[in-house]
């Protein structure tokens, strides 16, 4: 067994909250740069250049890239040979979020009850997804999620007879409905198969992949390519003002499912596609 103090987790989460909101990772920066270079619609090109400039200004002045610094989503892969010390892992993660959002001058956007809606004032709780894996390390992946894009996600419990075409149409239709609201250019996470919640979890997890890195699995990769083509043809463009750059990437994943079902979940991210990773 390897002993890990949960204080290390707290520190990592705190640092990731701040880093993620002040600068994009290289993969997203590169995708934006490529989009600005290849976009032919003049207004769309200008918008993309402004968005790139915005990210630069944010990093220089230490102002968040976007004022919606999101709800904190954390994926934890806990090695089964890790012995946790120093208290509760869960508490350490929430504490990391609390400290990160305070020290980073990030916006506190979480309400305690979805019905009565009083702000918790420290951006907690985080949404945490745990998985126990082999090994003696803890892998933390962090993605603050803005709700302009989160609100545009959709789950479809399709019929097996809807088939591959049904899946493609559902995703394209979701993007069309989201249009300008989700701050395009988008990163689109697609989960196909499993049960209702499995499809959604898969879709969310795809947003943590490096933008533009195709899926390893061939079936998923082909879906990604075809979806990109169809989405480009929608002419939504950056901010919805028109142009071909509606999505920076589509990331899809498949999972076995029941003989009677074909769940599809689409989780949309905006161009501020924040994702960070630490391994302890």
């Amino acid at each position: 067994m390897r002993e890990i103090n949960v204080a290390k987790v707290r520190e990592a989460v705190e640092a990731m909250c701040i880093e993620a909101n002040l600068a994009l990772t290289k993969d997203v920066q590169l995708a934006m740069k490529n989009a600005a270079e290849t976009e032919t619609n003049p207004l769309a090109k200008e918008v993309l250049e402004d968005l790139i400039k915005n990210e630069r200004v944010a990093s220089e002045l230490k102002v968040p890239i976007c004022q919606d610094t999101g709800m904190a989503v954390v994926f934890v892969d806990l090695g089964q040979e890790v012995a946790l010390a120093g208290g509760s892992l869960e508490e350490a993660i929430h504490a990391g979020v609390r400290l990160g959002y305070e020290k980073g001058y990030l916006r506190k956007s979480v309400v305690k009850s979805p019905i009565t809606r009083v702000n918790t004032k420290d951006n907690t709780p985080a949404v945490i997804h745990y998985r126990v894996v082999e090994g003696d390390q803890i892998r933390l992946r962090f993605a603050p999620k803005g709700f302009g894009s989160e609100n545009m996600g959709r789950l479809g419990m399709l019929k097996p007879s809807d088939g591959r075409e049904g899946v493609l149409e559902f995703v394209v239709d979701t993007v069309k409905k989201a249009g300008p609201n989700a701050c395009p250019p988008l990163v689109i996470g697609v989960g196909v198969g499993g049960t209702m919640e499995k499809a959604c979890l898969l879709a969310k997890e795809q947003l943590l992949r490096n933008v533009g890195e195709p899926a390893a699995e061939e079936e998923a990769r082909e879906l990604e390519e075809e979806l990109m083509e169809r989405i480009e043809a929608l002419d939504i463009g950056p901010q919805g003002f028109g142009g071909k750059t509606t999505a920076l990437a589509v990331h899809a994943a498949l999972f076995p499912t029941h003989i009677a079902g074909l769940p599809v979940c689409v989780n949309i991210n905006c161009h501020v596609a924040r994702h960070r990773e630490r391994v302890i």
């Binding site: 400039k53 915005n54 990210e55 102002v63 004022q67 990030l106 916006r107 302009g148 901010q239 003002f241």
Partner: protein, 180 residues
């Protein structure tokens, strides 16, 4: 570079065409979900509003906190459709301009046309850049709402695109033509 002076007038709004990029200068107020709800509830009770909406431009934003020495934190637009249920009521109170991002309902576009108002889109997810055009910020109502409080802002060359003009035409409804 087309500069527009705030507060807006109906005459100035008549010169704005959908899809056009303009730069705003002058005073505006902020307000998003919770503030809209309170404003409309106040009107429904027949009470006076804490701010005057006459000729005003409202920016749908909940800024991130300012660091010491900064005027405001990140301050880009939030998605506008969530304000749609409240907007016609505020237009009746004299509101003339709105700044947000994304589509508006056909009811809102119709009200915009009736009142000769305008809806601008700022760049969603470009809050750091938007903040550079804000020269002063002060909370003037509902301080308990935190980021959602109503702020008075003064802007200088704040870039926006005309998203719904006074004819009700929308920049987002290109393929279907300029219809309400």
């Amino acid at each position: 570079m087309k500069r527009i002076q705030l507060p807006l007038t109906k005459e100035v709004i008549q010169t704005l065409r959908v899809g056009e990029k303009v730069y705003l200068n002058g005073p505006m107020v902020t307000g998003r979900d919770a503030a809209h709800r309170r404003l409309v509830e106040t009107l429904d009770r027949g009470e006076a509003l804490p701010i005057s909406l006459d000729g005003m431009t409202i920016f749908y934003v909940g800024p991130s906190p300012a660091r010491p020495g900064q005027i405001i934190g990140s301050a880009g637009p939030t998605t506008s459709y969530r304000m749609d249920d409240y907007t016609p009521r505020l237009l009746e109170e004299g509101l003339l301009g709105m700044i947000g991002k994304g589509r508006r309902s056909s009811l809102v576009r119709q009200a915009i046309r009736e009142h000769g108002a305008v809806y601008f889109a700022a760049l969603g997810g470009a809050g750091a850049l938007a903040a550079q055009a804000i020269v002063s910020a002060e909370v003037i109502a509902y301080p308990d709402l935190g980021a959602e409080a109503i702020h008075a802002l003064e802007v200088k060359d704040f870039p926006v695109v005309v998203a719904v003009d006074a004819t009700g035409a929308s920049v987002y409804e290109r393929e279907e033509g300029a219809r309400v």
